[in-house]
């Protein structure tokens, strides 16, 4: 198994701020026209009371690094993504974020020996309440594995 000794290890937590301009740029990049992401007045009148961030916005955050874990710079494949929210993410939120390598396992398939890495990322607000959790499955192909081992 790849990075077996790192399973269960976490990064040091990093503070991230949901900034208005970053949300606007992100909403433009994903071509999402919702006024709730960019129009302060519309957002202020909405039940959120302030600007909302798109559901995939936590992709932009810094989650720190697991000490010593060096992933290959290229060739990793994103297999699955999941995000779960306790509450919507809003502009102005300050979140303490970190990531954990939750699991690593191998499977042999049509495309040879594949490695699977499961990462969990979380964001907590200033009171320590969990706001979101993401789970990503990253696939390491045999060719990429050759460069690691």
């Amino acid at each position: 198994m790849l990075y077996e000794g790192f399973v269960g290890r976490s990064s040091e937590s990093v503070w991230n701020i949901v900034e208005r301009d970053a949300v606007r740029l992100f909403a433009e990049a994903i071509a999402d026209p919702s006024p709730l992401y960019r129009d302060e007045e519309a957002a202020g009148r909405s039940r959120y009371g302030r600007l909302l961030a798109p559901p995939t916005f936590p992709r932009t955050f810094d989650y720190g690094r697991v000490e010593g874990l060096q992933l290959p710079p290229a060739g990793l494949i994103h297999g699955e993504f999941r995000i779960s929210y306790r509450r919507p993410l809003l502009v102005g939120d300050e979140l303490l974020c970190h990531l954990t390598l939750k699991d690593s396992y191998d499977k042999r398939g049509r495309r040879g020996l594949l490695g699977f890495l499961l990462f969990e990322r979380t964001g907590e607000d200033q009171e320590g309440n969990l706001v979101f959790t993401t789970n990503d499955t990253v696939v390491v192909t045999e060719a990429v594995r050759a460069g690691i081992e």
Partner: protein, 144 residues
Amino acid sequence: MVAPPDWKVGDGLEERTPPPINRDQLRKYAEASGDPNPIHLSDEAAETAGLPGVIAHGMLTVATMGLLLSPYLEHGHVKTFRSRFSGMVFLGDRLRVGGRVTGVDQTAEGRLYTFEVYARRDGDTVASGGIEFLVPHGADGLQP
């Protein structure tokens, strides 16, 4: 602004076909998301990685599926969103995203709608997944 949703199991979300993937969008997404991976920006880097050309970010496809519920954000928000990637998306690809309601549940927080969603290029599914969308009590004007 759209009317508050009152979906039933089996209802379909209107399919959307955003413009074909182009370099400018990938550059914008790379900048906005902070993803520096050159396989999304440079033909040379993509070829070195054994790809026939530049590919789109998987998370851009997820965000495109997210457009399906964007018109309803006034009334509710995304609780969970999951996606499994089953194909690569290349420059010039025109994606078609859609979904349908698979569950409507009354919860302590409000009405929770479950959707199956997909992103397809012609007949190929490049991503499929699910969204749980919560319409809090009182936000839909419906009786619990």
